[in-house]
């Protein structure tokens, strides 16, 4: 396999970024799109070639691609190097494949936007960093990609930079990510201290060679790495940036906040499974937090009105599932779900974008309804996504989510069973809110004003009257629609999206259907090729026993989760289709609970009070007032002031009066004599003998 081709995988998007970033403003849109699309298509093709190569007989399971040395200090060395194994292949496939589809979609979606070139430049930049992250062979290079995707995310969330809420959301995302990155950094420091290297192969090799090495500092490293993962992958407690990130354009939400960037945390945990396997405590923490986040986010998603917010919370919830899988050491299941999730979540977001496009910028589900007949392609593709995410067989997530729940159950112990149960309930809630979205958007009577839409209701963010101007991160009960895309006001009402938009949707829908078929477990008559494919990476021999399953238990558990899904669907059907007023009535009955959910458990407010305000106060008073005002400015002022004072003093010597000059002369002469006699040539040492 040609080495240069492999280096091209990340380089091509970077080149796309450079071209579009520097020249894009002046280039015609067609050229910008071509550059951007090529910059993603070609890497996808190279990945395909790599895939074929790796699956061929005699190909190595993993290999490294060494580049130039980066840091080489005594004993500690980090190179620019790529490590490619089957896990990398899976991630590469997802990133380049789904990435390319989303790029195609964006050509249509962003067609009317100003800053078109900027969007594609940033998108390519993101691809570059994500690919570096996935291909990296050392923690440090992964961290470069890690930070880089955070940067790209900030740039893209704040794409509509004229909007305060978007800018704030971008800042929030970046800052919260930073907190996670701090954990990552500390973990890297510990790794250097204990293993003397940041290279994956070297660190994992050292751990493998010491079978008795468990707990202790390894737990610390794993927990710190997980802190980084919670930041990047939006788990408790650092998930708060993801809902706000919906301020960015919908393709951004699809690519970054559904399919790729947020999965970086899961990838990292899977990559470091060698470390996590040695620390049962860290694994338990990962599992508990993953499960708790899944449940927590699902409950919030139940009451959201903005279609994108629902999807955002569902992303957080599904990421929780992935971490749950990693936490019970079922890494293959986690990565499997990562893959299927990439398909259906990207599909859902892009389809939501299509809906929003059709509605001329409207995002509030309470103002939708009955779109099934108006935008059929979007309806069918989105339905595929809804079925996938809720776990209806034979769609993809049925197999992946089931695998996770099964592995959790297998783990056993009170923790295993408790987690399984919560996961089950969450699956039911997921089904409920996804079908709620489905019914509210596509079924029932239209709740919007067709005429108003025809006259171009909604529009560019610049057109927003001040009364719509923005609130930060609160989705209030009286949510004014947060107009995301500046879709030009169309004067022809609800309409289907152009081909450039629905073709990627269709492809993703197909993938959502068949994507799970590579992981069908034995219980259902499949061969679980996916698990075997990742086998060399995760060494199943060391994993939870009972991996090769009997048919019985898995079958029963699968039926149980299907039951949960059906219950959720039924409730959604009743609340939102049969008797549409039920939900509102329930909300009134259980007002406090509803309020709690609607305000997202007041987490943002709690953070604001507990963390942000004291920090702000500290910054203003101590750092701003004391350090900046007194010390730094004080030093400057003192220097200046003292120079002035000294000048004032010495000026008095220049009096114009001769005798005062004489006086100073005498004084000075005495001083000079004293210095010469006692300092320069000490008189006692002077030998005046002949």
């Amino acid at each position: 396999m040609n080495d240069t081709l492999l280096w091209l995988i990340p380089i091509l998007p970077f080149a796309g970024f450079l071209v579009n970033g520097t020249l894009g403003r002046k280039l015609p849109r067609a050229l910008v799109s071509t550059v951007a699309l090529l910059a993603t298509l070609l890497p996808a093709l190279i990945v395909l070639k790599l895939w074929i190569f790796m699956k061929s007989a005699g190909a190595p399971d993993h290999f490294t691609l060494s580049g130039a040395p980066w840091i080489a200090i005594s004993g500690f060395q980090v190179n620019f190097a790529f490590a490619i194994d089957h896990l990398t292949l899976v991630m590469l496939g997802i990133v380049t494949g789904v990435g390319f589809l989303i790029h195609v979609y964006s050509v249509g979606y962003m067609a009317e936007e100003e800053g078109y070139w900027r969007f594609f430049a940033y998108l390519n930049l993101f691809m570059f960093f994500m690919l570096v992250l996935v291909l990296a062979s050392s923690f440090l290079l992964m961290f470069v990609g890690w930070e880089g995707v955070g940067l790209a995310s900030y740039l893209l969330i704040g794409f509509y930079f004229k909007r305060d809420s978007a800018v704030n959301a971008g800042k929030k995302a970046f800052i919260v990510n930073r907190i996670g990155d701090f954990g990552f950094l500390l973990a890297m420091f510990l790794l250097i201290a204990h293993f003397g290297s940041l290279d994956f192969a070297k660190v994992f090799g050292q751990v493998d060679a010491a079978p008795g090495l468990t707990g202790g500092f390894l737990t610390a490293i794993c927990l710190l790495l997980f802190v980084g993962a919670t930041g990047k992958s939006a788990q408790i407690p650092l998930y708060i940036w993801l809902p706000d990130a919906m301020e960015g354009p919908t393709p951004v939400s699809a690519l970054i906040h559904a399919a790729t960037m947020v999965t970086a945390g899961v990838y990292m945990v899977a990559r470091c499974h060698v470390l996590f396997d040695r620390s049962p405590f860290a694994l338990a923490v990962v599992a508990i937090i993953g499960c708790a986040t899944a449940f927590f986010a699902a409950t919030i998603g139940m009451v959201q009105h903005d279609i994108k917010r629902v999807l955002a919370y569902s992303t957080i919830s599904q990421l929780g599932y992935m971490f749950l899988a990693c936490g019970v050491a079922a890494y293959e299941a986690g990565i499997f779900h990562l893959m299927t999730h990439a398909f259906f979540k990207a599909l859902l977001f892009l389809a939501a974008g299509s809906v929003i496009h059709a509605m001329g910028g409207e995002q509030d589900m309470r103002k939708m309804g009955g779109l099934r007949k108006r935008i059929p392609i979007t309806f069918y593709t989105m339905s595929a996504g809804v079925f996938a995410i809720t776990g209806v067989p034979p769609f993809a997530a049925f197999f992946s989510k089931d695998e996770i729940l099964y592995q959790t159950f297998l783990r056993g112990g009170t923790l295993g069973y408790a987690l399984w149960f919560v996961g089950l309930v969450t699956a039911g809630i997921t089904s409920f809110y996804m079908f709620r979205l489905w019914y509210k958007t596509f079924f029932g009577e239209p709740r919007f004003d067709e005429a108003a839409l025809a006259h171009g209701h909604g529009g560019h963010d610049e057109d927003l009257a001040p009364v719509h101007a923005h609130r930060g991160s609160h989705a209030t009960m009286v949510a004014e629609p947060e107009h995301d895309s500046g879709q030009a006001a169309r004067s022809h009402g609800v309409h289907e999206s152009p081909a450039v938009m629905w073709v990627p949707l269709a492809i993703l829908a197909v993938l959502s259907l068949i994507g799970g078929w590579v992981g069908v477990p034995l219980a259902f008559g499949g061969h679980n090729e996916f698990e075997h494919f990742l086998g060399p990476v995760f060494n199943p021999a060391e994993h939870v026993a009972g991996h090769i399953t009997a048919r019985g238990p898995e079958f029963v558990l699968a039926l149980t989760s299907l039951l949960a899904v059906a219950i959720g669907w039924y409730f959604a059907y009743v609340f939102y289709y049969r008797k549409p007023g039920t939900a509102a009535a329930l909300a009134k009955r259980f007002k406090p609970l509803y309020n709690l959910l609607d305000h997202k458990y007041w987490v943002d407010e709690i953070y604001g009070r507990l963390i942000v305000s004291p920090l702000l106060g500290f910054s203003r008073v101590v750092l701003g007032g004391l350090v900046d005002g007194l010390i730094i400015q004080g030093t400057g002022a003192t220097l200046g002031g003292s120079t002035r004072g000294l000048g004032w003093l010495t000026r008095r010597m220049q009096s114009g009066n001769i005798r005062s000059y004489a006086g100073w002369l005498a004084l000075g002469a005495a001083a000079v004599i004293a210095i010469v006699l006692f300092v320069v040539h000490p008189a006692s040492a002077n030998s005046l003998t002949r």
């Binding site: 000026r651 220049q654 009096s655 114009g656 009066n657 001769i658 005798r659 004489a662 006086g663 005498a666 002469a669 002949r690």
Partner: protein, 100 residues
């Protein structure tokens, strides 16, 4: 036998008196004369050292000091005359046109 130190101390005394006069007196000519006194004191020092070390360079230096002092006296007094013509006073406190 007079210790050389006594000559040197005498020169120091004369020098200090010269400095005092330089500072106290207000008449510009008197100030000038005190400068001459200081120069003489230094001359005495040089001669004393020349005697002590049996080298002639000390006396030669005194020779040159005398020459320069004479030239300086001539020019300085000419300046004082010009000053008197301009300001009609020999009081050094009133020669203060350069005061701020």
């Amino acid at each position: 036998m007079v210790p050389i130190a006594y000559y040197l101390i005498l020169a120091a005394v004369l020098f200090s008196i010269g400095v005092c006069a330089f500072l106290i007196k207000r008449n510009v000519i008197t100030i000038f004369m005190s400068i001459e006194l200081m120069l003489n004191a230094v001359n005495l020092t040089f001669v004393a050292f020349a005697h002590m070390w049996h080298r002639i360079e000390g006396q030669i230096f005194v020779f040159f000091v005398m020459v320069v002092a004479a030239a300086e006296a001539a020019v300085g007094l000419a300046i004082i005359i010009a000053l008197f013509r301009a300001r009609q006073t020999l009081n050094v406190d009133q020669v203060n046109l350069m005061k701020d």
